[in-house]
Symmetry: C2
C-alpha cells in the first residue's frame, strides 16, 4: 500500500521542482509553530529526497561542496513538519522544528544580526 | 541631519550584501504581522536600493530581465516594514504588509498550491 512518502510519490513530487543551472533549489526554512524564518539553504534533488524521505533537513553546502544534514555536528537538528513548493517550482518552503539556534553564529535565526532597514519614518 | 534611510547609510548597508554571480540576492518575503512566508524574489543592488529608500518592494525579474515594483500592475503592493540580512550576506528577509494576494496565481502566498511532503507518519 502506498504511503505519502514512499519512493514513487516522492519522485513524482521531485519531478515538479525546477532546479537551477547548478542543480539547486532555494529552501526557505521556517519554524513551524512560531513562524520565524530561520535560514535560507540550498538543496539538490538528492538533498531534497533525503529531507522528504527521512524527515531531517538535508542541504547542499555551496561553499564546502558537500551535503550537510543540519545538526549532525552542532546537535541543532531540524525535524521536518511540512514542505511546500512555490508557484513556479524554484523555491521550497520547509517548515521544521528547530532544536536550539539555527545559525552557526549561535543566534536563533540567520537574520538576527544585520538590520538593512529601519521602518520609514522611525529615524 | 542623518536619517536611517538616507543615501549614505543605505549604501553602507548595501555594501554588506553578497550578490551572486548574476548580481542578485535572494529575498524572502514575509507578511510582517501574520508571519506567512509570501514569496521568494530576487533583487540586484538597484532593486534593493529602491526597496530600502522608497519603502515599496522592488525586484529583478529573472524571466523577464526587468525590474518590477510589486503591485504596479496588480495593485497588490508590498509596503516594507523591516529588512534583515543573513549571517553570510547572501539572503534578505523582507517583512512587508502585503495588499491582497502575493502570488500571480491569485493565492495569498506562492506556497499555497503544491504540498511536497506529508508529515511523517501521517499517511
Amino acid at each position: 500500500m502506498s504511503t505519502a512518502n514512499d519512493d514513487a510519490s516522492v519522485e513524482e513530487r521531485l519531478a515538479g521542482v525546477s532546479f537551477n543551472a547548478d542543480g539547486l533549489v532555494a529552501v526557505i526554512v521556517q519554524q513551524f509553530d512560531t513562524h520565524e524564518v530561520l535560514m535560507l539553504g540550498w538543496a539538490d534533488a538528492e538533498a531534497l529526497r533525503c529531507t522528504l524521505t527521512t524527515g531531517r533537513a538535508v542541504y547542499w553546502s555551496r561553499s564546502r561542496q558537500e551535503y550537510w544534514r543540519k545538526g549532525d555536528t552542532s546537535g541543532n537538528i531540524q525535524v521536518v513538519h511540512e514542505a511546500r513548493l512555490d508557484c513556479d517550482g524554484d523555491a521550497v518552503l520547509l517548515k521544521v522544528d528547530q532544536t536550539g539556534p539555527a545559525c552557526h553564529t549561535g543566534t536563533r535565526t540567520c537574520f538576527d544580526a544585520v538590520d538593512l532597514h529601519a521602518t520609514p519614518g522611525a529615524a
